[in-house]
């Protein structure tokens, strides 16, 4: 029962915070609401025995990505935009589409059938610790994507530099 209560709290918070994030006029406020949102998501992960994921959620998302957002928001001078209309003209369509999509996905979940179970039981996680399980998998079975992910990040670095660096003086 308690678990359900916790879930309902987190779920309600996540949905509420998500709505806050996307409805703020000032992007800085959005970023801050998002920070709070990420904490709640991390809480959900903890409920799901994914401690490592919760940690990464906070470290990578909250720590790195959101800070990046904040930098950019502050870098750009957005005073003008805050005074303007925040939604595009077709927003009712957007609402309709989002609601429709949500309804559809919601109805769909009722017929969800879970796939076959794997071998990473809670006991095994407890035995090896969660980071241990993730790390083992990461460096054995998932080594290849792991390496590719590094390339993705490299590309991101190159790209960011090439696009955002100051103009070369001619």
């Amino acid at each position: 029962m308690l678990v359900e209560l916790f879930f309902f709290y987190f779920a309600a918070a996540v949905i509420g915070l998500s709505l806050m994030v996307i409805t703020r006029k000032n992007p800085v406020h959005s970023v801050l609401w998002m920070l709070l949102l990420f904490f709640h998501i991390a809480g959900l992960y903890l409920m799901l025995n994914a401690e490592m994921m919760a940690a990464i959620q906070l470290i990578v998302y909250a720590g790195a990505i959101l800070v990046l957002f904040l930098f950019v928001v502050l870098l750009l001078d957005l005073k003008k935009e805050i005074g303007e209309e925040q939604y595009v003209g077709v927003w009712p369509t957007g609402v309709a589409v989002a609601v429709a999509l949500f309804t559809l996905l919601l109805i769909m979940t009722r017929s969800f059938v879970a796939g076959p179970h794997g071998n990473i039981t809670i006991e095994r996680v407890r035995e090896l610790s969660h980071p241990g399980v993730v790390g083992r998998a990461m460096f054995t079975e998932y080594l290849f994507p792991f390496e590719v992910a590094s390339l993705v990040l490299l590309v991101a670095v190159i790209g960011a530099i090439i696009l955002a660096k100051k103009r070369i003086k001619e």
Binding site: V3, V14, S18, L19, V21, I22, P27, V31, M34, L37, I41, L44, Y45, L48, N49, A50, M53, I56, Y61, I65, L68, F69, V72, L76, D77, L78, K80, E81, E84, Y87, V88, W91, G94, V95, V97, A98, L101, F102, L105, L106, T109, F112, P116, H117, G118, I120, T121, V133, V134, A137, M138, A149, V152, L153, V155, A156, G159, A160, L163, A164
Partner: protein, 100 residues
Amino acid sequence: MVPVTWYMALSAAVFAIGVFGFVTRRNVIIMFMSVELMLNAVNINLVAMSHYLEDIRGQIMVFFIKAVAAAEAAIGLAIIIALFRNKPTAHIDEIKEMGG
């Protein structure tokens, strides 16, 4: 015990909110954050399923999604900065040099 479908419903809600934000907000940064919301929706799904399937794969996927999200953030924000230099606005619907 919370059924996995609850998590899926939550995920769907967050995903839909992300879609809503993306298609309605003029501010490019908030649109971008909407995308992040959608990714987080996926992550919730994956972690929940990983938990219920007693399989680690979903969480590994989440890990990679986060890595890619970071990379995307870097590139996306760089693109926004580059754009801002030529046309100082964050309201992206004003940027429609091309169409038709």
